[in-house]
């Protein structure tokens, strides 16, 4: 049996060396691990790319529904799949000119056009800021309310805990998409308070370019559905740190309850919440897209990926596959990016979980 000598890579540390070493916090350790894992790097890369697209697209070409239209070119397949003759025909150019345009003509409309002759590529790009904002907003709302609920319920215990847990159990006992559908359907009634509220919000300058009232309501509904998930995590985290010695120590020094919650318990519950946040952005984006697909979320002509698929559905049967293909790939890529980032974060923040 071959025995391997244990290799010592660390130099023996004197007290001097130990003291002069730069202090490494949990966060810098986690960052190092995140950057060194393939999963984490890939996730960060995809997310960074998407955020870049989301920021750059509206700056380079603001969304203008009328400009993008080209009624002569309805439902054209992706241009790189067409022959020069077909492209010349589609663009009513002469064949010589179309040949000369190669290779650029090849990528003129890389995702094809839709039923109004709009360039699907441009619309998919414009969907990025919408989906990213919607996903992030929904998760931020869910985190604020959910972790507050969980923190309070875990920290105070007793009757508060019983009621809060009951509420969360009820919300979790619903198939989440059904709850989101019901909430969206209710809040999208034009006479309801929530619709008027959303109308006010979505008239604000920047939000205007992202949301329409139904989409805003869909986002709120998805946030509500995600609340109990964060509630449970925060509650479990509080319960696990509550009886640690440093909490008793803090108690003994006379730290106030509020300060205890905010300074000592919350930061120590942050890791699982952060990981869940990343994963929840992914699921929120899918849910909002699903609502859009069912006609409950963003309304056309807003280039939200789910509502694009809802229109594209009619053209699948007649063979225009590209219309449905690309918005779907965009959703999948976004969700994949956040899932990878979430997995990477989990490994980085909680090395014990790693095998």
């Amino acid at each position: 049996m071959a025995t391997t000598e244990p290799t010592i890579t660390k130099k023996p540390t004197s007290d001097q060396a130990l003291l002069s070493r730069k202090p490494r916090s949990l966060w810098s350790d986690a960052r190092r691990r995140l950057f060194s894992s393939t999963v984490g790097r890939l996730g960060m890369l995809i997310c960074a790319f998407l955020f870049a697209v989301a920021i750059i697209t509206p700056l380079v070409q603001p969304l203008d529904q009328t400009l993008n239209r080209d009624t002569a070119n309805k439902l054209q397949p992706p241009s790189w799949l067409m022959t020069a003759e077909e492209r010349a025909d589609a663009a009513s150019k002469s064949i010589d000119k179309a040949r000369k345009d190669i290779p650029w003509g090849r990528f003129e409309r890389p995702f094809g056009t839709d039923q109004l002759g709009r360039d699907i590529f441009i619309r998919v790009l414009h969907g990025a800021p919408i989906s990213l904002t919607v996903g992030t907003f929904a998760v931020i709302l869910a985190v604020i309310f959910g972790s507050l609920l969980g923190l309070i319920s875990g920290f105070f215990g007793g009757i508060i805990d019983t009621i809060a847990t009951w509420l969360m159990d009820i919300l979790l006992a619903f198939p989440s998409i059904l709850l989101a559908i019901a909430l969206t359907a209710i809040s999208n009634n034009r006479e309801s308070f929530s619709y008027k509220f959303s109308q006010q919000i979505t008239e604000l300058p920047i939000l205007q370019t992202i949301f329409d009232p139904p989409l805003f309501n869909a986002m709120l509904a998805v946030a509500v559905v995600e609340i109990p998930i964060f509630g449970r995590i925060a509650r479990a985290a509080v319960l696990s740190v509550r009886n640690q010695e440093y909490i008793h120590a803090a108690e003994a020094v006379g730290v106030s309850r509020m300060r205890m919650l905010m300074r000592h318990i919350l930061p120590n519950s942050l890791t699982p919440i952060l990981v869940q946040m990343t994963l929840s952005v992914a699921s929120s984006i899918t849910s909002v897209a699903a609502l859009g697909f069912l006609g409950l979320g963003a309304q056309p002509p807003r280039p939200e990926w789910g509502s694009m698929l809802s229109t594209a559905r009619e053209y699948v049967g007649t063979g225009q596959w590209w219309y449905a293909l690309f918005p779907g790939i965009a959703i999948m890529l976004t969700v994949l990016g956040f899932n990878l980032l979430g997995d990477g974060l989990r490994d980085a923040l909680d090395p014990r979980l790693k095998h």
């Binding site: 006992a173 989440s176 059904l178 559908i181 019901a182 699903a290 697909f293 559905r313 779907g328």
Partner: protein
């Protein structure tokens, strides 16, 4: 054990009551009068009032404080009717809800069960193989596919499958449970058409049902399959490095027996948790899958009910689905004991 099961089942009641309150209140916050929806805008106020009396919508919402029986309210009526199995009539179709449930529930069950079967069989196998062949190209590629699988929006996957297998290749049927020519040609026994065909000796029905079922159940199975595969892999990896696995191998057990009996059995708890969680996803995901594939199940029916403000359908349907959901989750919890005798119940 029996006491534990009993207590768990008893614990369902407050959750169901909460759900009923939530559904009831949510529906009542939708502006609009169901009487107008049924009778139309041109009905007279007297007609509407009469209908409201008939549907007992003129009663107080939660408790009757106006004299008479304190429990003579809409909510109490709803609860007691549901508990006695009287689900009322749909406002839109005027059909008895229990009758529609009887038609539609088997459709969803057939879809969800076949999706679950695919997900568990393929998912667990993939997970076990990946874990035992850790680091191989097989492991890497199946985990990449699994990652894509959890990220795919199922309604989109459904559309793409429809295009590929129905429009392009013309192998499978894009919608419904049977060809229209076969529908109504037989009296369903269980409502699960695959099974009915076999029971009736009508193999044409089974074959046809299969051709309709395969795409929606594959689409629905994707996300659970991927989650189950990922969870099985990581649970197996944790177990395979334990001492008792080495002991089992050392005493001469074959690799297969070690992996299945000593490895998988001990890795099952987290896998079962994931399967339980995915059941909820199956019920919810059924809404989307049923929409894409025009599958006449409960999900699609509830969606239509919500959109059409069909109070009784939504009230009873959601309660029914939640009941099933909560029951399944409780059963999953109880089953832990079966798979891991170390778990003790207080």
């Amino acid at each position: 054990m029996v006491g534990y099961i009993f207590r768990r089942l008893l614990g369902i009641i407050p959750v169901l009551l909460g759900i009923s309150l939530l559904v009831f209140t949510l529906l009542r916050t939708i502006p609009g009068d169901p009487a107008i929806i049924i009778l139309g805008e041109r009905s007279t106020p007297e007609q509407r009032a009469a209908l409201r009396t008939k549907l007992k919508l003129d009663r107080p919402l939660f408790l009757n404080f106006e004299g008479g029986n304190i429990f003579e309210s809409q909510y109490v009526t709803y609860i007691t009717n549901f508990a006695t199995g009287d689900f009322g009539d749909s406002i839109k179709t005027r059909q008895a809800i229990s009758k529609e449930l009887k038609q539609r529930f088997p459709a969803t069950i057939e879809l969800a069960l076949s999706a679950l079967l695919i997900a568990v069989v393929v998912g667990v196998t993939t997970g076990v193989v990946s874990a035992t062949k850790r680091g191989s190209w097989l492991d890497a590629s199946s985990m990449i596919v699994a990652l894509l699988g959890v990220s795919i929006p199922i309604f989109w996957l459904g559309l793409m499958m429809q295009y590929l297998f129905s429009v392009k290749l013309k192998w499978l049927d894009p919608s419904l449970r049977l060809d229209t020519s076969l529908q109504g040609s037989f009296e369903p026994i269980t409502g699960l058409y695959l099974l009915d065909g076999l029971l009736l000796g009508r193999f044409d029905i089974t074959m046809n049902a299969f051709k309709h079922l395969i795409m929606p159940s594959l689409a629905l199975a994707t996300v659970p399959l991927a989650s189950i595969a990922r969870m099985t892999r990581s649970a197996m990896l944790e177990v395979l490095y334990q001492d008792y696995i080495r002991t089992a191998r050392a005493k001469g057990l074959s690799a297969r027996i070690t992996i299945l009996r000593h490895g998988l059995r001990n890795a099952l708890i987290p896998v079962i948790t994931v399967i339980g969680l995915q059941l909820g996803f199956l019920l919810g995901g059924a809404v989307l899958t049923e929409t894409v594939f025009s599958w006449p199940g409960i999900g699609r029916w509830l969606l239509d009910g919500i959109l059409a403000r069909d109070y009784p359908v939504v009230q009873s349907g959601v309660m029914f689905v939640s009941l099933v959901f909560v029951l399944i989750n409780t059963l999953v919890d109880i089953s832990y004991r079966f798979f891991d005798p170390r778990i003790q119940y207080k």
